[in-house]
Symmetry: D2
Subunit: 346 residues, 4 copies
């Protein structure tokens, strides 16, 4: 079983306490074994106050300055839930400071930044460096991957995968469009990683994309769309098709279908929020998951469990930085194709 509770706990510091950061902090503080949340970093005073009040972090470990945070000798590992543009440099600084690193996805919006992180990580082989592709920790996706590995669908050759969010009538995300990297880098990067995982990590060759703006004309300014389709061609014949949307009327629907020569697997279809089915004069209906957070609640928790276990040397990660690099590379080719209207080499 697991090691005795008396073993030294992993001491973690978190940078960024926005919505997702707070979720990771809660997992670390209250529901993950063998770990202590001991430090926090944020340029926002309110976030540090929350870190003290909610998670009991001592004043000397509340950092407004990232450099001080990363050098805090009280921590063994950092969890970075900061803006994407900071991911690469912060990961590198943390690795150089001798800390294990968990960084939210995407690792970076360009290949060079990813490669810089990989290079530094290679210099620190004893430290864990992990990117938050949360779907890898969802029990359903895990079992699907196990089924495929066990040969239960024969040879997988096609993946259809989507990340679709409920429409936000306020169009909050439009403000982030200029820095998000576009819909494919922001949403489809998960599907890209999944497709590679399910297909056995084949080499991607080409990508073609097309999209449309259904409800948020403001996206046009930065060349983005609110609904996008992409086809990726892999060496050896495998294919993937992705759909990303910001405008689903009913909720969040993240689904993936893996098609093999002897079977297919569908993960996430139906998007049921719970185990209730309602019947009324309007027919039979069920509620849908409102968002990514609720869909992947369990996966967010298990992700921290695995990060902690890897840092403590209990088990190795199967998700590597080079998976993150490849997902970025493919996402960028798709994004270029959306703009050029032509297939783009990966």
């Amino acid at each position: 079983m697991s090691p005795p509770a008396s073993a030294a706990k992993l001491r973690v510091g978190i940078a960024g306490l926005g919505r997702l950061g707070r979720r990771h902090a809660e997992a670390l503080a209250f529901s993950t074994r063998h770990v202590e949340l001991v430090a926090a970093c944020s340029p926002v005073a309110a976030e540090l106050e929350l870190a003290a009040a909610e998670f009991g972090i001592a004043p000397e470990h509340l950092h407004a300055d990232f450099a001080a945070f990363v050098d805090d000798p009280a921590i063994d590992a950092v969890v970075l839930v900061t803006p994407t543009s900071l991911h690469a440099d912060q990961s590198i600084a943390a690795l150089r400071a001798g800390k294990h690193v968990f960084v939210e996805k995407p690792l970076a919006l360009n290949v060079e930044d990813c490669e810089r992180v990989l290079a530094v990580a290679a210099e620190h082989p004893q430290q864990v460096a992990m990117v938050g592709f949360v779907r890898r920790f969802d029990p359903s996706y895990r079992r699907a991957a196990e089924d495929i590995e066990a040969g239960r669908i024969g040879r997988p050759f096609l993946v259809r995968s989507q990340t679709c969010d409920r429409n936000d009538p306020q169009g909050f995300f439009v403000r982030f469009a200029p820095t998000s990297g576009g819909i494919f880098m922001d949403c489809s990067v998960h599907d890209i990683d999944l497709a590679r995982w399910m297909l056995g990590r084949p080499k991607a060759l080409r990508a073609f994309a097309s999209g449309t703006i259904a409800l948020h004309p403001g996206l046009a300014d930065c060349g983005d769309v609110d609904n996008g389709l992409a086809i990726v061609e892999f060496e050896g014949g495998a294919r993937a098709v992705f759909y990303a949307s910001r405008t689903l009327p009913h909720g969040h629907e993240t689904t993936t279908e893996v098609i093999g020569t002897e079977g297919t697997l569908q993960v996430g279809f139906g998007a049921a929020r719970d185990r209730i089915e309602r019947r009324s004069a309007a027919g039979v209906h069920h509620e849908v998951l409102p968002d990514f957070f609720e869909r992947f609640r369990e996966a967010f928790a298990l992700e921290m469990v695995d990060f902690v276990a890897a840092c403590r040397g209990e088990r190795a990660l199967t998700l590597t930085l080079s998976d993150a690099l490849e997902a970025t590379r493919i996402g960028l080719a798709i994004t270029r194709s959306l703009r050029s209207g032509l297939p783009e080499a990966v």
Copy 2:
């Protein structure tokens, strides 16, 4: 395959052209092979006019009088869709006139009438006599029965079955309550027949029933309910539980679950009207079948196909009059129990 179209067609007359009668007439006139609808009988002038206009029945074969109808030499077989109280006597008259007989369920509201029909049918072994337990002809129920016969669920020992209608706010059925035999004789008689079929026709020993009036207080006058539950005990240990309702808010839901030692079968759950799933801000929803007619549209057609085939000697019926007698016997014990509050011997 089927016999050549040149073979003599079966000539059928129909008695009763209400909603269900018309449906049978349409099946016979337009979509069943090897049959001609040549005569009709009804005390209602408008129904005979419809028989002429819609189905092209010649004036000399439109009968207001049942005795004349049953003796019409132009017909080989009769389909009786008349009030339940007439079923037994009309079936007997038709058998004695040398006709094959299809009679709507239930065969009768008392055991004596059923037995009289069985006795006369026994005197006319060359003639088909069949009761309209339409679910027996539904492809899903048929396949379920085949699965059970093939041993795919091991030994079946428990049936849960329901016949539930959409609430009619006008409470039309309340007017028929005094003559319908009550909710169990009217609705559950199908479930009773199914349970016997799926369990291999065990002997019923006892029945217990309980019910409530949810929406139609007018039923109290004749001791009826709009929602009823019943448990039936069979020799050898098998059990069945039935639910009948007149008040479902969403549509018609006829479902049956057969539980065996190695598997279970569920027929009809979900009650989807079609193959459309809708997603909107309200969630995921699908429409439901509005009524028995739409649920069993295909079965009504196949029922006539089997009746015609049996009359033409092409294949034997598996559904017998003694199945109808047993269903009546059990339905009556349930109905007695609803009134006595005690288990009643079947």
Copy 3:
């Protein structure tokens, strides 16, 4: 209601009595009102024998020669279930002979042939000319179209649609690959027509396709694939993505999703063969539709009902020859893209 049965029946002749032809013949002979199947045409003697034996067609109306068939004065309309390469010329001959025409899809494998048929049809405006896009007659697709027309999903802007067949281990279809026009012309032409219908017939601008051979290497010789993906861009921003497969392990699955600004519709997901759900040590399972024929059994019947009704002048068709022309045009652009690897203008 419907007109009296005494009205003159439409007299139909059928050309081609293969699997699908026989199905149409059965519908016409046994389950469609106001019609008589009076003639048949086939170069195969066995098919004409079957026409006589099964459908009672008189010897003088059994034609080995198409020219004689099309001039048979006993027929008002023809149903053409012949090889695709003959569709255009036969349709033209029948129109010129004064007959109504139902022709199986696709109308032709090139735009010129389609246009020739349209031109001749325009010269015979009193005659019905209809292409067998059978999904248009499926009740679920019809209701979906009505929902969209009624504005229930807001503005539809994206269609995802697939036609996927169960794998045939013998690869029977590989033999037809050289003349079928390829997977997109053979399978996706239905999805293309549906997408145009559901999106309100926007003008198609460009198409991109990619594919792979999963199980049938013999297809490589004629540049075909057994799994294909395509994206189509329409004027005004609407998009469609198609998936066609010859290799599904579990059965036939034809599904379509229409995404609008206020709702989405999914047609055909789950592919349940019947209303049975089975539970055993292996979990919960249901059977799947084996093929297109069983999926669209009702639609094939309703298609003939509508053709007959249109010929009798009872109601107009909403499906036009120019819909068939556009579907061909888009299918050809997709097919060119599969070969060039580049987006192709429609």
Copy 4:
């Protein structure tokens, strides 16, 4: 939000570290806020060793003797996961020792024992006393109850509920049959509590039960069955029907349907283990939950959260000891009916 982490933690001791006890201990030790697991009690040495090794409980708080445990001044609250026959006396002892009490269901196998606990609890109104009806804490059941309270199904008048376990070929449970109180006291007590909750706590009047032994003849010795059906009649017309089984072939299936005058709710149907749907030559299938533990994993955690919150005075419990008394009373009437074959007064 929640109170600051600096507030004093609730100190809990657990008695019984079998399968379910260990689950509660894990929740208390690792994933519930504001609580510390500080003591354990068991007559089994191995369980105390586990308490030390796994949960870090100090030697001086490991008790073989219940009297010493309940008097341990280091604890504020006890969680009792001991044999049913001890529940009442241990609860009383803990209450008298000034501790809050969580006791597993059922509270007792006779009404007198329940009433003794209620009387002692009434003397200690400042202490929490709670019975582990875990389904009350399942998010789906909670939402269903909220829907009903908000009037969304009109007036609820019928509950159909089942607790069905996967068959254990070893028949482990047969050994416990003599002390479990029978299938209805062991399994249906949950359904009984739910039915009362969903129907608004009406007074139960009568119960009728019937059962059968499908696979485990050893149960006959103690008058028990492995499949049982029961109908309960409530004052005011509401009805409930329960099904309990030890022999489902496919997994654990706990489902509840609440039928109201304007809608119905179904909780738990389908029993899907995860969000994966598999397609293969065998059709479409999904895995099923293996057992009660996996079905109610989240509810077991939330149950401890609510117990801790109640002990800390943060919120009141809606589940009372008198709910447990009523569930026992109804369960006993059902059990008497199973033996007498007659309806029994509650």
